[in-house]
C-alpha cells in the first residue's frame, strides 16, 4: 500500500528543532525525524523514551540467578567433585564466572532486543525517506494520508518559514510506522 509523505529537509540543527516545535504547536503529528547524529532535544519533543535499561536490568537478574543455579546444579547435584578439600558449593569462586556470564547475557539479550525493537537486522530494508539524512541533513517526515489539502499545504509552509532547504512530497510503498 502506497502512502504519501511530506518531507522537510534542513541543514541546520536549530532551524530543524524550531520547525518541529511549530509543527507540534499546530497539532501536526510528526511521523518521524531522521538525523545524522543523535539530537537530544528531539527525544524530548517527540517524547521518545527507551525502556532498554529496564529490560537490561532484568536480563542481568536473569543472568545472575540462572548462572548461579547452573553452577550449583553442576557442582553440588549432578557430579560433585572435591577440589582441594573445598565445599561443593564454593560460592566465592563462583562469583567470577557469574559476573562474566551475566555481562555476556545482558549484552547478547540487549542487542537482540535492540535489533527487534529498532527493526535492525541483516537484510532489513527500512524505508529511507531521504538519503542525505545519514550525511548532513536533518529530515522531518509527516504522514499526509489522513490530512486534508489545506493542512498538507500548511505543514509545508511552516517548514518553509522555519528555513527548510527543500520540501518534498513523495509516495512510499510498505512503510511501517
Amino acid at each position: 500500500m502506497a502512502r504519501t509523505f511530506k518531507i522537510g529537509v534542513f541543514d541546520d540543527e536549530g532551524k530543524f528543532i524550531s520547525s518541529i516545535r511549530s509543527l507540534q504547536e499546530q497539532k501536526f503529528r510528526i511521523f518521524d525525524v531522521f538525523t545524522p547524529y543523535p539530537v537530544h532535544e528531539v527525544f524530548h519533543l517527540l517524547k521518545r523514551k527507551s525502556r532498554l535499561p529496564t529490560a537490561a536490568y532484568f536480563f542481568g537478574l536473569f543472568g545472575i540467578i540462572s548462572t548461579l543455579a547452573f553452577l550449583y546444579y553442576t557442582s553440588v547435584i549432578n557430579w560433585p567433585i572435591v577440589y582441594g578439600g573445598k565445599p561443593f558449593n564454593s560460592f566465592p569462586s563462583f562469583i567470577i564466572v557469574t559476573i562474566i556470564v551475566t555481562i555476556l547475557t545482558v549484552t547478547i539479550a540487549s542487542l537482540a532486543l535492540f535489533s527487534a525493537r529498532s527493526k535492525l537486522f541483516p537484510g532489513r530494508d527500512n524505508t529511507i525517506f531521504d538519503l542525505r539524512a545519514t550525511d548532513d541533513k536533518f529530515v522531518i517526515v509527516i504522514d499526509t494520508n489522513s490530512l486534508d489539502k489545506s493542512a498538507i499545504g500548511n505543514a509545508g509552509n511552516i517548514m518553509e518559514e522555519q528555513g527548510a532547504v527543500e520540501i518534498i512530497d513523495k509516495e512510499f510503498e510498505n512503510v511501517e510506522s
Binding site: 518521524d32 525525524v33 531522521f34 538525523t35 545524522p36 547524529y37 543523535p38 539530537v39 528531539v42 527525544f43 517527540l46 521518545r48 527507551s50 532498554l52 535499561p53 537490561a56 547452573f70 553452577l71 553442576t74 557442582s75 549432578n78 557430579w79 567433585i81 577440589y83 582441594g84 573445598k86 564454593s90 569462586s93 563462583f94 567470577i96 564466572v97 559476573i99 562474566i100 556470564v101 555481562i103 555476556l104 545482558v106 549484552t107 547478547i108 540487549s110 542487542l111 535492540f114 535489533s115 525493537r117 529498532s118 527493526k119 535492525l120 537486522f121 541483516p122 537484510g123 530494508d125 527500512n126 524505508t127 529511507i128 525517506f129 542525505r132 539524512a133 545519514t134 550525511d135 548532513d136
Partner: protein, 453 residues
C-alpha cells in the same frame, strides 16, 4: 582530562558536518597508496609464517616449542598476556571515556576498538594451541557430555580466563559493530557502486537514523559501556589470577590484579598511540586527531608509567619485607641480578623511565617522539610478561629443577604470525570501515569552534 577552553577545539578547521562525512569516508573511496599494498603483503607473509608454525605445532605437538617440564609456560603465555593487554585499550578508551563523557574519545575510539578485536583474536590463539590437542579445545565448554557428565572445574582461574576472554571477544566485537551501524548507513547512502551499496546495506542492518533508532542506540551504548567497563577490569584481573593463584615465587602476590590491569591499559594506550600517529600521518587526518588528542594520550601514559614504576618497587619491597627466601631469591638473584637481569632492567627502563620523556611538551608534540616512546613501551610490556612468566618458572624451589629457557623458531613463528594477523586486520579495517565514528564526530564538531564559548 580534556578542557576545551585550554586545549582548543576537538575538531580543527571549523568543519561543516557534510565535510566531516566526506573527509572521513575519503580513505575508503580512493585507491590506497602503494604503501598499503606493501604493508599488506608484508603482514600477509608474517601471517603465512605464523600459519606454518601453527601447522607444525598442531601436527607434531608442543614439543616443537621451547617449553620444558619446569618452564611449562613459555613465549606463548607471554604473548597471550601481551596481546590481551593491548586488547584492553580499545575498551578502556571507548568505554571509560564514554562513561566519563570525555568527548575527545570520538576521533579515536573506532580504531582503538578495531585494535581490541584483532588483538584479542590473536591472544585467544595461544591458550588454544597451548592445550596441545587443539581439536579437543571444546572440552572446556561446560556442556552436558557423555563423560559423566563431567563438568569443568569452575573453581579454576584457567576456566575463568576462558570464559572472560570469550565474553570479552564477543562483547568488544559487538560494541564495535554497534557503534559502526550509523556509519555503515552513511557509506551505504553515499556510495554509487552497486556492489558496495548491497554490501554496506546488508551490514548496516537497515539503519535510517530515525529518532526511534537513535534513542535506543544511545541507551544501548551506555548499557553495554557500563557493563563492559566491569569486564575490562575483570578480564585482566582474571588473567593475573592464572599466575597469582599458583604458588610460584614471584607470582603468589595480592598486587597482581591491579598491577595487571594497569599494565594492560598501559600497553593498550601505547598501541593506540602507535596506530594513531601512523593513521594521522598517512591519511592526513590531523584535523580530527589533533595534536591535543596525542597530548592527552601522552599525559595518560606518563601517569600510568609512574603507577607501573610504583608497582615494580612495591613487588621488590614486598619480596624483601616478606622475609621469604624464595621470593627474595626470585627478585634479587634472578631478576635484578642474574640470568634475567637484561629483561628486568629492560622492563624498568622501557616502562618506568623512558615514558617520563612525556613530561616535555616538545616530545608530546613531536610525532617521532610519540611513535618511538610508544613502541618502546610495547617492547617494555612484552619484557614485563617475559619476566613474570619465565624467571619464576625457570628457577623455583628445587635447584634440581632449574633450567634455562629459550624459544624455538616455531615459538617465534607463532608470535610473528599473530603480529601479521593483527597488522592484516588493521590494514583491512583502514580500507573498508570508516576509521572514525563519523556520527559521533558530527555531534562534537561545534565544540570549541565558532558559536559556543
Amino acid at each position: 582530562m580534556y578542557n576545551r577552553k585550554i586545549r582548543g577545539p576537538l575538531i580543527e578547521g571549523n568543519k561543516s558536518i557534510g565535510q566531516i562525512t566526506k573527509e572521513v569516508a575519503l580513505p575508503m573511496e580512493m585507491q590506497p597508496g602503494l604503501w598499503w599494498y606493501i604493508a599488506f603483503v608484508l603482514s600477509s607473509i608474517a601471517a603465512v609464517f605464523g600459519f606454518y608454525a601453527i601447522y607444525i605445532t598442531v601436527y607434531k605437538g608442543i614439543g616443537t616449542w621451547g617449553v620444558n617440564n619446569s618452564v611449562a609456560w613459555g613465549w606463548e603465555i607471554v604473548n597471550f598476556v601481551w596481546w590481551i593487554g593491548i586488547g584492553h585499550a580499545g575498551t578502556a578508551f571507548s568505554i571509560f571515556l564514554l562513561i566519563l563523557r570525555q568527548k575527545w574519545r570520538t576521533s579515536i575510539n573506532r580504531a582503538a576498538e578495531a585494535m581490541t578485536v584483532f588483538a584479542v583474536m590473536s591472544a585467544a590463539l595461544f591458550p588454544a594451541l597451548h592445550m596441545g590437542r587443539v581439536w579437543d579445545a571444546f572440552y572446556i565448554f561446560p556442556y552436558p557430555n557423555t563423560r559423566g557428565p563431567l563438568w569443568v572445574n569452575f573453581n579454576s582461574p584457567l576456566f575463568w580466563d576462558f570464559s572472560a576472554i570469550t565474553a570479552y571477544l564477543i562483547i568488544s566485537a559487538s560494541f564495535w559493530y554497534l557503534g559502526m551501524l550509523p556509519d555503515l548507513g552513511t557509506i551505504r547512502d553515499r556510495t554509487t557502486s552497486k556492489i558496495k551499496k548491497a554490501v554496506y546495506g546488508f551490514f548496516s542492518l537497515g539503519w535510517t537514523g530515525s529518532s526511534r533508532q537513535w534513542i535506543r542506540f544511545d541507551s544501548l551504548s551506555f548499557i553495554l559501556g557500563g557493563i563492559a567497563a566491569v569486564l575490562v577490569v575483570s578480564v585482566h584481573s582474571i588473567v593475573s589470577t592464572d599466575f597469582a593463584v599458583g604458588i610460584e615465587p614471584g607470582w603468589h602476590t595480592t598486587i597482581f590484579p591491579p598491577f595487571f590491569v594497569i599494565g594492560a591499559i598501559f600497553s593498550g594506550f601505547a598501541m593506540v598511540m602507535t596506530l594513531m600517529v601512523l593513521i594521522r600521518k598517512v591519511y592526513k587526518l590531523t584535523d580530527y586527531i589533533t595534536d591535543n588528542h596525542m597530548d592527552a594520550i601522552a599525559r595518560i601514559l606518563v601517569f600510568i608509567s609512574m603507577i607501573m614504576g610504583l608497582a615494580y618497587l612495591t613487588e621488590i619491597f614486598m619480596s624483601w619485607y616478606s622475609g621469604n627466601q624464595y621470593e627474595m631469591f626470585t627478585f634479587f638473584r634472578n631478576r635484578i641480578t642474574g640470568d634475567y637481569a637484561v629483561q628486568f632492567w629492560g622492563m624498568i627502563v622501557c616502562n618506568a623511565l623512558i615514558p617520563q620523556l612525556f613530561w616535555f611538551r616538545k616530545v608530546r608534540r613531536n610525532w617521532i617522539g610519540l611513535l618511538s616512546v610508544s613502541l618502546i613501551i610495547n617492547i617494555g610490556m612484552w619484557l614485563e610478561r617475559y619476566n613474570i612468566v619465565i624467571t619464576s618458572l625457570s628457577k623455583d624451589y628445587l635447584p634440581s629443577n632449574w633450567v634455562s629457557y629459550s624459544p624455538t623458531i616455531i615459538d617465534i613463528g607463532v608470535f610473528v604470525g599473530t603480529i601479521g594477523l593483527f597488522a592484516t586486520g588493521v590494514l583491512l579495517f583502514m580500507r573498508y570501515i570508516p576509521m572514525m565514528a563519523i556520527s559521533e564526530l558530527k555531534s562534537v564538531a561545534h565544540i570549541g569552534n565558532k558559536k559556543e564559548d
